[in-house]
């Protein structure tokens, strides 16, 4: 089994920004987007997120798997829960409102009625902007960040050394464990192990995974003890840890962080200080359905 990371250097604007600055920016967008339902503020955040995503030079071919997952989420939340059933708008959109089709409509020769309101439809737009803004800044991370950078980035962002080092070490183990997984799978199949069989009930299907999971897990634990002993012998954890991959801020990284902080500050100030936190429908939107 060949493990391939999704990252590759594209010489994009994002590639030149320090990973810490990028994480700070992404979390600022997350907090800003979740602090308001005001469509104007969400539209501003949405445009900034699109610009941020575009600067990474990602292709559809690169990211389609991630977007497929996001599409399923969006379909469930917006199409099914907000537009069709109306359940997803509960608590944010007030009850009642102006119907999009007050007289109903004809479909395949039959008269239909549908309780979709103008307010719910606008909420779907706001919800789409909010979820897409967050998705745009977070979905690009695996494709634009070098796997060597995660450990040191989390450490420099203030996470404990052990957690950061665990992450760093995990990256190193993944190819080895993937190979062990493949070898175990092949060995079990050679013994007649039918992982792909669809026979039996739910429990028997679940138990069928055991001959694969158990040897892989036990093998990993046994081999990790050897590595732990080797690390102990070399005095791991006795001194402050240094990192092979060093991070250094440039002036533009400070600019990105300052922009993120200002963006978050302004959105929170407008949302909580100027009553722009709650959901509201602009008059021109009503005009489209009158």
């Amino acid at each position: 089994m060949l493990v391939t990371w999704n990252y590759r250097y594209r010489n994009s604007l994002i590639d030149h920004i320090d990973p810490r600055a990028r994480f700070i920016f992404s979390f600022a967008v997350l907090l800003a987007a979740t602090s308001t339902w005001n469509p104007l503020l969400l539209a501003i955040i949405f445009v900034i997120s699109i610009a941020w995503y575009s600067s990474a030079k990602l292709s559809w071919q690169d990211t389609k798997r991630g977007w497929l997952m996001i599409s399923i989420l969006l379909f469930t939340m917006i199409v099914v829960n907000t537009i069709i059933t109306g359940g997803g708008a509960g608590g944010v959109v007030p009850e009642g409102g102006q119907l999009v089709w007050p007289e109903g409509f004809n479909l395949f020769g039959r008269h239909m009625t549908f309780g979709l309101t103008v307010e719910r439809l606008w909420f779907a737009v706001a919800q789409l902007m909010r979820i897409l803004s967050i998705s745009l800044v977070f979905i690009m991370i695996p494709y634009t960040m070098d796997s060597r950078a995660y450990g040191v980035t989390f450490r420099k962002l203030g996470l404990p050394d052990r957690l950061a080092y665990t992450m760093e070490l995990s990256f190193r183990f993944i190819p080895t464990l993937a190979r062990n997984f493949q070898v175990t799978l092949d060995a079990q199949r050679a013994r007649g192990f039918e992982l792909d069989s669809v026979k039996g009930g739910i429990l028997s299907k679940v138990r069928r995974i055991a001959p694969l999971i158990i040897p892989v897990t036990m093998n990993a634990i046994v081999s990790s003890e050897d590595i732990a002993n080797a690390m102990d012998l070399r005095g791991f954890g006795q001194q402050k840890r240094t990192w092979l991959y060093e991070l250094k801020y440039q002036w533009w990284d400070y600019a990105v962080i300052a922009f993120a902080v200002v963006l978050l500050g302004v959105i929170v100030y407008l949302a909580y200080g100027h009553g722009m936190r709650l959901f509201e429908v602009p008059q021109w939107w009503y005009g489209l359905f009158s």
Binding site: M1, V3, N6, S26, T34, W37, D62, G66, M69, I70, T76, M77, N81, G88, A89, G90, V92, R130, I131, I134, F138, I139, P142, Y143, L163, T166, M167, L169, S170, F171, R172, F173, I174, L177, F181, D196, S197, V198, I202, L203, K205, V206, R207, R208, I209, A210, I213, I214, V216, T217, M218, A220, I221, V222, S223, S224, E225, I227, A228, M231
Partner: protein, 168 residues
């Protein structure tokens, strides 16, 4: 070390079943790997369990190209943390009482872990409680509990053989 191995293992097995698409278990569920943070919690304690789930889920998402979703990563960490809290009560991995306690820890771990992750969608996506329960929580809870309840005792018994053989 155990946390690093656990996280890498969780990432690889999740990725293998998600992306590499082993047609395993005839559509029963998609993440048999959830048992790994639970087992590492039971065997090595709450911190190892948490890091295995938290870091492992980050790595699995990175491998799969799904992005970075910290609230679901935390949920996965809790699925390892809570069984880890039970680890002090478990001394003999193949005793009936130990397995019973481990099974309880699976249910509680998935309940709180997936509960936190699903509820966070109310804050992030603006989803209502119905959506959170039926679209986010229940599918994750039911499949993860099923995998945990069936596979964790098998892992514990297998590990007890290793413990007794090596005199750990």
């Amino acid at each position: 070390m155990y946390a690093a191995i656990g996280a890498a293992l969780y990432a690889v097995v999740t990725w293998a079943f998600n992306v590499w698409q082993i047609p395993g278990a005839g559509n029963v569920g998609i993440r048999p790997a959830v048992v790994i943070p639970m087992f590492f919690g039971i065997a090595f304690g709450p911190i190892v369990g948490f890091i295995t789930g938290f870091v492992g889920n980050i790595l699995a998402d990175l491998l799969s190209g799904y992005g970075f979703w910290v609230w679901w990563d935390l949920g996965n960490g809790i699925m390892g943390l809570i069984p880890g809290l039970f680890s002090v009560l478990i001394t003999n991995y193949k005793a009936g009482r130990s397995i019973f306690l481990a099974e309880i820890s699976v249910v509680l771990g998935v309940l709180f872990g997936m509960g936190l992750a699903a509820i966070s969608e109310m804050w992030v996506s603006g989803a209502d409680m119905n959506t959170v329960i039926f679209a986010n929580f229940l599918p994750a809870f039911l499949t993860n509990v099923l995998w945990g309840l069936v596979l964790l005792p098998l892992l514990m018994v297998a590990y007890s053989a290793i413990v007794s053989q090596s005199g750990r």
